[in-house]
Symmetry: C2
C-alpha cells in the first residue's frame, strides 16, 4: 500500500531534495549518528561525496566549491563537536557571503535529554555563524527543511545555513521531497539611491567607489571601467571572495591592509560610494589608530550592501553619469623567467608566467601573497579568491573545493606555512580525489605577519618566549614529507630557477602537487 | 606618582594573577589581538608558554596538563575563530570535568561595533561549553576576573571557563593583581544519602556502584575494594578522565560501550549506586535500543555527582556498611614477549611488558585501545586517561600536556589513524618541547568503529560511496613521514616482534617517538 514517496528515510528525503535543487557535492566527515546520511549519499549519484579527514577541510572545501559554481555545497558534520571543528571556515564563508548548507547530525530526539557524552547545545554553537538554522525533528519535515535551507543560503545576504538532522529522523521512513524553490536573486539597484549617488559624484572633487560581489565579475569590471573613465577612483575591499583578473580586464585598486596606509591613500577623498560590500573597517585595532577607514571629511554612501547585485549598480550609476564604454583593460603582459634568490617577488613572477588561462587562485598567503597578486594583473585571465574572514587555514581546503568544482581547470593555492599547518589534512583529500591543485607553501618558519604586528601594536621587542610563540622553527617542518605522507607529490624550491621549473612542471602534470618555497623570514 | 601596581597592563595583570594562583602552563596560538598577552607571557617566568600550531592541540594539551597536575592550565586563543578551532577538545574537557582557563583575545571594545572581518559573537560561541564566561572590558577588572576564572574552573562541577580579553584592556596600563582565592573543594559526602545508600545495599540482592572522579585514585580504589569485599559490584564509566591502575591496585570493572552488552551485563541488578558521575547513558541511540543503561527493575541512586569527592563517599559508605579493609590488589603480572601477527592483542601484550612505572596513558585508541587496557591491569602502576567526550582528536594533544606536566615520567599515547589525523600538529609541539611521549598509531586505514556502527544502526551494507566515506585508504597515510616531517622520530611496525622492540626502544630513549602499528582493518 505504501507508495514510493513514503519509503524515503528522512536522510534520503534531505539528500535527494538538495540534489533536486542542484547541490552536486558533499564534503563529509561522518560519525555514528550520520550513518543513514552516509547510506543516503551512497544512493544519490547526483552528489559527489568527498571524505575530509577534518571538518575544517570539509567546510573550507564547500566554500571553494560554491565560489566556483555559485551553488551551495553540502557538508556533513558530526554533532556539535564536528560543527566546532568546521567552525573557523564557516566563519570565513560567512565573511565571504558564500552560500553553504551545513548538515549537522544530532542524537535521536528522545536520546537528547539524557546528556550523552557527545551531546551539546548545537543550536547555541552554530547560531552565531548561521544565517538560518533549523532542526528536522520530524521525519515529515526533512525534505521541506532541506529545500528551505537551500533557499535560505542565498540570503538576502548569502551565507552558511545549519540544518540539524537527528538520527531518528534520519533513520525513520516517511520522508517526502521538499517543494521546489526558486533561487532568490540578489537585490536590484534602487533608482533613488543611484540618482543620489550620481548627484553626489557630480558634486565631489575626489570620489571613490568601493566594490565587491558581482562587480568583480568580468561584466561588473567593464562597468567599473566606465566609472573610472568618468573620474571615479575604483577600489575593492582588501580581501574579496572572488575577482576576475588578467589580460583584457579592468583592474580596480585594492584597499590597503594597514589602517595608516589606507588612510594616507584616501587622503583628500570627499566621497566614498559603497556597492556590494560594507563600509571599510580596519582588520584590527591599534592604540591610537582609527577603526573606520573613511577620511573624516568624507561621508560614506552605501548604494547597496552584500545583498545587492553590485554589477547592476555600477551599470546603473554609469548610465546615470552618462559614462562612455571604456577601452578594454591592459593586454597580456607576463614577466621573463626570474633568477637568483627565491622570494615573494620572484615567486610572483613565475606565477605570472605560468598561471594557465581560466585558473582559480586560493590565496591564504598572508604576508607573502601580495607580490603574486600584484604581478598577475596582466597574466592570462583567471579568478583570484581570498581569505575574507581572517581565520587562517582556509587556503588548501578552499583550493580542494574549487578544483573539484572545475576539474578541467587548474587551481593554484598560495599558503603560508603557519596557515597551511592548520588544515594540512586537505592534502589527503586532494590526493584521493586527484584534484588539480598546485599548492605553493611559503616556508619561512615563522608567523611572519605576527612579527610585524608585535611591533605595530607597541607590544615591545620580543623576548625569547615571544619569539618562540611567533616562530615555527625548532623544529623546521619538512613540507615535502608532510605532503608525500598524504599522497601529494612535492618538491623543495630554494632558488627562483628551481621554483620556476617546479611550477611549470606542476601545472603541466595532472593531479595535486605541492611546492615548498623557501622564502626569507624577514 | 604612579606606584608599581599601576604599571601593569591588563594582559600583565591577567597573566600574573593566574601565575599567583598556581597556573604553570599556557598552550597558545596567538594572533594580532593577543600581542600584549604574548609580551606579558614573555615577562612571566612562572608560566611555561607552549606554541601549538592549531588551537585544538592547545586545548587538548591544557586538558592533559590539568589531569596530571590537578590545576587548570591556561590557553591563549585568537578571537572567536581560535575558540572554534579549540572547541572540540574544550567539549571533551567539559565532559572530563577538567578545570581549564581559556583566555580568548578579542578586538578592542570600541572596535567591536564596526564588525571587522574577525569579529564574531564569542559569548555565543563559547557559552555552551563554558562553566563560566566573562569579558574583561575594563583594565581595572582584568586581574580580578583572572582570579575569578581560576576559582570558577573548579566548579561546583569543574570544567572549562572562558575569559575574554579585549585588545585595549590588554594594552592599557592600570591593571591590578586579582585578590587571592582559595581553591574550592569537591563536595563532602552527604550523611543522609550515605545512610540511605547503606540501607538500600542491605536490602538489595545484586547491588552495583558506578564510580568515577577521585574514587579512581589509589586511595579511592582502596575504598572501592572494601565495597567489593562486602558484596557490591564496582563498575566505572566506560570512559573516565583518569584512573590509577596496575599491580597492587584494586581494578573495578568498566561499563560496556555498546548498550545491548551493557544491559545484558547488568541483568538482574536491583540497585545502582552512583558516586562521582552521572547515571549511565548509551553513547549513541540506535533504533529500538535503550538510552539509559539501567535495568528496568533497578532505580539508580545518586550518592554524589561529579561535583562530589567520590573517594570520601566510598569511604563513608564502606564505614556505614562495616566493610573490612580489603586485601591488596593483584600482584605484578606481565605477559611474555608476543610474536607473530601484529594486532590489538599483541600490542597490548607489549605495552603491558614495557609500560614504565608511573607512566601516563592517553587513550584515544577507539576500537583498538580496549585490549591494551585489559592487558595492563596488573602491569607496573600507571595512570590511564581516556577520551570522555567522544570528539576524536584528543589523544596526542592530551599526551603532550600530560608529558609537559610530568617531565620525569613517560606518557604513552594510543590513537587511531582517523583520530590521529585530526590534530596531527601535536607532533610538532612534542618535538619542540622534547616531550617524553611515545605515540602508538593504530594504522588500519579505516574509521573501523564506523564500519561496525554502519551495521549496528541498520543503515545497510556499504556501497562504494559509503565505503569511501568510512575508509582511510586510497591513499594510505605514511605515518612515519608525517611524524618525521614534524620532527618526531618514527618507525613502522608490522609484526609483534617489530612492535615489541620498537616500543622498548622508544620508552628507553628521551624525547618523543612515534610507532605506526599496522593492524588489521577488520
Amino acid at each position: 500500500m505504501a507508495d514510493s514517496v513514503t519509503t524515503l528515510t528522512g536522510a534520503e528525503a534531505l539528500v535527494s531534495t538538495l540534489a533536486d535543487h542542484g547541490v552536486t557535492a558533499c564534503f563529509a566527515n561522518p560519525g555514528t549518528s550520520e550513518m543513514h546520511l552516509v547510506t543516503a549519499l551512497d544512493h544519490e549519484p547526483r552528489i559527489r561525496s568527498v571524505l575530509c579527514l577534518f571538518e575544517g577541510v570539509a567546510t573550507g572545501a564547500a566554500d571553494g566549491h560554491a565560489r566556483v559554481t555559485g551553488q551551495p555545497a553540502m557538508t556533513l558534520l558530526h554533532l556539535g563537536a564536528g560543527y566546532l571543528n568546521g567552525g573557523a571556515n564557516i566563519h570565513n564563508a560567512k565573511r565571504a557571503w558564500t552560500p553553504m548548507i551545513n548538515v549537522i547530525g544530532d542524537h535521536a530526539v528522545p536520546h537528547l535529554r539524557y546528556d550523552a557524552p557527545l551531546t551539546s547545545n548545537i543550536r547555541g554553537l552554530a547560531g552565531p555563524n548561521s544565517v538560518w538554522l533549523k532542526s528536522a525533528d520530524r521525519v515529515a519535515d526533512a525534505g521541506e527543511l532541506a529545500a528551505e535551507a537551500w533557499e535560505a543560503s542565498f540570503g538576502p545576504v548569502p551565507g552558511p545555513v545549519s540544518l540539524l538532522l537527528p538520527a531518528d529522523t534520519a533513520w525513520t521512513e516517511g520522508g517526502k521531497p521538499g517543494k521546489a524553490r526558486k533561487r532568490p536573486a540578489l537585490w536590484a539597484p534602487d533608482p533613488n539611491r543611484i540618482a543620489a549617488a550620481a548627484k553626489a559624484v557630480r558634486n565631489a572633487m575626489k570620489p571613490v567607489i568601493l566594490i565587491n560581489g558581482t562587480a568583480l565579475k568580468p561584466a561588473g569590471l567593464a562597468q567599473a571601467a566606465r566609472l573610472k573613465a568618468s573620474g571615479i577612483r575604483v577600489l575593492t575591499d582588501t580581501f574579496f571572495p572572488r575577482m576576475a583578473r588578467g589580460a583584457g580586464l579592468f583592474a580596480p585598486e585594492r584597499m590597503q591592509y594597514f589602517a595608516e596606509g589606507a588612510m594616507a591613500d584616501l587622503e583628500g577623498t570627499d566621497l566614498m560610494l559603497v556597492a556590494g560590500t560594507q563600509v571599510p573597517v580596519a582588520f584590527f585595532s591599534y592604540p591610537g589608530r582609527p577603526s573606520v577607514l573613511v577620511p573624516e571629511s568624507c561621508t560614506p554612501m552605501i548604494i547597496g550592501g552584500p545583498e545587492s547585485d553590485s554589477a547592476a549598480i555600477l551599470a546603473a550609476l554609469a548610465d546615470a553619469l552618462g559614462a562612455k564604454t571604456s577601452a578594454d583593460g591592459a593586454p597580456l603582459d607576463t614577466p621573463g623567467a626570474p633568477s637568483g634568490a627565491l622570494n615573494a617577488a620572484t615567486i610572483g613572477a613565475s606565477i605570472a608566467r605560468h598561471l594557465p588561462e581560466g585558473s582559480f587562485v586560493s590565496d591564504d598567503g598572508v604576508s607573502n601573497g601580495l607580490p603574486s597578486f600584484m604581478m598577475t594583473g596582466r597574466a592570462r585571465p583567471h579568478d583570484w579568491m581570498m581569505l575574507t574572514g581572517g581565520a587562517i587555514g582556509q587556503g588548501m581546503p578552499l583550493a580542494l573545493g574549487a578544483a573539484l568544482a572545475a576539474p578541467d581547470r587548474k587551481t593554484l593555492c598560495l599558503t603560508g606555512d603557519g596557515a597551511g599547518m592548520y588544515t594540512n589534512q586537505a592534502l589527503w583529500s586532494m590526493a584521493r580525489e586527484q584534484a588539480n591543485v598546485v599548492t605553493v607553501v611559503f616556508v619561512n618558519h615563522s608567523y611572519r605577519i605576527l612579527n610585524i604586528e608585535l611591533a605595530r601594536t607597541g607590544a615591545g621587542n620580543p623576548g625569547r618566549v615571544a619569539e618562540d610563540l611567533l616562530g615555527l622553527g625548532r623544529p623546521e617542518i619538512d613540507w615535502v614529507k608532510l605532503s608525500e605522507a598524504q599522497g601529494v607529490p612535492a618538491v623543495n624550491a630554494a632558488t627562483a630557477e628551481e621554483f620556476d621549473a617546479a611550477l611549470e612542471r606542476a601545472f603541466r602534470e595532472p593531479g595535486p602537487h605541492l611546492i615548498a618555497a623557501h622564502v626569507p623570514a624577514r
